[in-house]
Symmetry: C2
Subunit: 397 residues, 2 copies
Amino acid sequence: MQNSEAISLSSSDFRHAISLAGKCIERNNKTIPTLSMIHARANGVFEATGTDLDVLVSASVPRAGSAEATFLIPDYRSIIGAVKAGGGSDVTLEPAEGKFALASDTLSVEVVSNIAADDFPLSGQLIAHDEFTATLSHEQLRSLRRIAASISKAETRYYLNGIYLHHIDGTTFRAVATDGHRLSVIDLEIPDASGALEGIIIPRKAIRLLLEMIGNKAGAADPGIAFRVGTGMLRNREDSTAPERKGVSRAHFSLRAGNASVTLATKLIDGTYPDYARVIPSESGRSFLFKSAEFRRALEAVSFGSKDVRAVRLDFDSEGATVSAKYVSGIASAVRISCQHSGEPWEVGFSGSHLIDMIDAAGGDEFVLSAADATGPALIKNPADPDWTGVLMPCRL
Amino acid sequence: MQNSEAISLSSSDFRHAISLAGKCIERNNKTIPTLSMIHARANGVFEATGTDLDVLVSASVPRAGSAEATFLIPDYRSIIGAVKAGGGSDVTLEPAEGKFALASDTLSVEVVSNIAADDFPLSGQLIAHDEFTATLSHEQLRSLRRIAASISKAETRYYLNGIYLHHIDGTTFRAVATDGHRLSVIDLEIPDASGALEGIIIPRKAIRLLLEMIGNKAGAADPGIAFRVGTGMLRNREDSTAPERKGVSRAHFSLRAGNASVTLATKLIDGTYPDYARVIPSESGRSFLFKSAEFRRALEAVSFGSKDVRAVRLDFDSEGATVSAKYVSGIASAVRISCQHSGEPWEVGFSGSHLIDMIDAAGGDEFVLSAADATGPALIKNPADPDWTGVLMPCRL
């Protein structure tokens, strides 16, 4: 069945590459059929690319043979399912006019496609000129999980829909996320940073895809992520009267995911990040030291095991604290926890799910909550980790 | 905190009992608030009961102390979540007028309830007179999984919405399920059967709950299930002119689930089961022997890994068979499989998901499909297991 024009590669590499490229494809895209497809290109390697026009992911894996071809793969999830169920260690792809054939062991699939591969929007994310380059470790990228929950989803404040990254001092860079109710900050050391980075906003989707691709497991060898920020290729047309766009507009991340070389290219959010620093309170005022696991379990208990925890009340007395919640269904619950503090009896309320997210992000066995009063922002710190900071607005009781 | 009126039991027993009782509660019941609650009763044991008026489940677990009480537990899923997250090995329940308190280790929950426990419909499922009693093993009950997928969900043919169980010969009883497109039969040996069983229809929900409760693990010791069929307690009122209802109308199953003694009581479906025997073809005609795992994988491959497999085509030639499917999205796929047969080339179509269900139900390494022609029912048998029979109607190609 195989001929000289066939592209051959391992079944698991094929599935891995198209599933990585598919990560940025929006399931509910109906208006532009091309954006639901994977762009496949065989030259020295097999390269699969997917895009939603804002974010583009390319994954390259090794291949056998020398035939070169470019074609589109529709319905990639079905193709992955079929190849996986069909078994066989290798797949063979044979593109032809208006269709392509896929074969593996006993399986043969023929896919008709009436869209030309040239129609795929490949070039929109290219960087014409690097303004800033750096190398992040997988571990550093993974640490962005500790602030990602604070990224806003409100479309009206689109400039909060990402992580703000900017230069602080020396080789220290700060990543910030906030949705107006909570704010998280983490500082990263990037010794090989080169060029200027006044401040960029990396969209939530790019962050989510990168975190999915590197996974949770810290590998023995951390291959690192090449990170580039620059201006896009697309310039104004010569007859345009619009002002020339300035500043950086694109970021690229290049990394290894298993057997694949991946590039994620994203547009940056074009907006002004608010002056977040004035929201972070000082550590003066009331200060409370909690055991993280005990507090977290108390929050789950008063929220009846649900992740969707409503407002919880903290009552501090001389012996510790009570975490409590009341529900419309007529259930009221309370849990006693230990808490070290030196202040007067006091009470304050927070969103329970935000508190759980913050405790998870703080990490460690203990955390400190500091607040000047019950209406202003509260500071959350892990005493063992000065690089991370959480800020949470209280709820009315 | 604990007083002499408190009911105390292990936290895991408490959660197990109310989660078993909750299994028959319909989540979307809004009209009768009592039916979303668990009826709790402490006498010698702690007994939790739930019902949807057709099916009732009671679970009893050991308790400490002697206080007796009856009360209702609203929102049992939240209570389970809270008790689990709150930790502690025991729970203490203190019913009072219009509310009850629950405490475990550091957790305290107060539940307000404005419905009296007497309003709970406990008695509807009692059997006044046993017509038939028997003991099933857990293994025999579990074997009903092999026919349960064939139970109809069509409300218009309500008499197909369950498993038909009837006496065949000696100590052999036959369980049947069909939805008009497929039919499955399994024969059970019940040596201690006592009384007459002309034929009952056990509703799908009761079968599903029983299968959930006994789980998949075959235990070393099989404690058995006491099975009773009889007439209900509710008689016509004296001034009623309706004809007195005849025949059996209720079934009870008593079993052990972990540390709990469980009784499931169900109404039987009041209807006439069709004469299914005339649908079962003889094994004459064309006969094809397949390797089960190979055929199953082929079905998954042509359905692109989805469980929701559409019509598949089987083409038999002198060397084996091809399983194939065509999709509107322009993808056509085919898989070659081995098949022993001695007939002419032939083709036939089936619902892929029904075929997968049948292969799973047949069990074993091989199965035989026999058919007289491509429009009549096909017989599916596992050569190693004469007790099970599957029948499948073909699709038009």
